[in-house]
């Protein structure tokens, strides 16, 4: 399996899997909170480039991480957001808490996935 988390200085990127439901959310929450506890993180980037399905469990993941990092003055963003995910973020009101980018973000997983760039524009 691909790595889910990447830490660059004080920025942690979460590569959201293909499907983000209750089943997958539990693992991501565990991993992300483990890193947040250990490292000095000020920004969390959720990268949705591979994500085709999400439900309210995904909203819970973002809201929970926002709550944690907000306590230390950090912020949360979402990149490579497709129309579907964007709709869910707006319906739930999470868009007020985070910055959303539909284009290539500040994250970089390397050239391997380079061909996906621009897919959601």
């Amino acid at each position: 399996m691909d790595e889910v988390l990447q830490v660059n200085g004080t920025c942690m990127t979460v590569f959201v899997p293909k499907e983000l439901d209750h089943h997958n959310a539990e693992g991501i929450i565990r991993e992300a909170d483990r890193v947040l506890e250990r490292e000095n993180i000020h920004q969390i980037v959720f990268d949705f480039r591979d994500t085709e399905f999400m439900d309210s469990s995904g909203i819970g993941v973002i809201m929970g991480r926002y709550h944690n990092i907000n306590l230390v003055g950090g912020y949360v963003s979402a990149v490579h957001v497709n129309e579907r995910i964007n709709k869910l973020l707006h319906l739930s009101g999470v868009y007020k808490l985070i910055t959303i980018s539909k284009e290539q973000g500040w994250s970089d997983k390397g050239n391997k996935k380079g061909e996906y760039y621009g897919k959601h524009q």
Binding site: E19, D21, H22, H23, A25, E26, I29, F53, M54, D55, S56, S57, I59, G60, V61, M63, G64, R84, L88, L91, S92, G93
Partner: protein, 157 residues
Amino acid sequence: MIKGIRKGNTMENTNEMTIEFDSRSCNEGFARVAVAAFCTQLNPTLEEVADIKTAVSEAITNSIIHGYENEVKKIRIECKVTEREMHITVIDHGRGIENVEKAMEPLYTTKPELNRSGMGFAFMEAFMDQILVSSELGKGTEVHMKKTIGCIGGIFE
């Protein structure tokens, strides 16, 4: 194809499907894909399929987390298509909901410690045309959802 369905007695033009599975979180993906596959006979748009998948996923997650509180028991999904309507009923025999109205409020959750957003019922309401919840404490919960597929019209003359 679609015109064919319209011919003849409409009462005969229904199709039903039932699945029952263990309330394990790993079955969520399978169950929503099964329902989505069943609804393709109505020739839905990709967005309508995504709507149904999300709504079904919310209902199942509710049953697993709140109904059975992670005990492994059975969840039953009954699907029925009539003409252009998709009916989905998700049934569990868990602890039931004390106050359905309260449970359906957006952002209300009884399990914030589990990173639940409280948006489950709100998403079901947003993505389906109609939702009916009947629940009895200690007996279980039934969530009935309905969605009309292709309501923009013009497909049938």
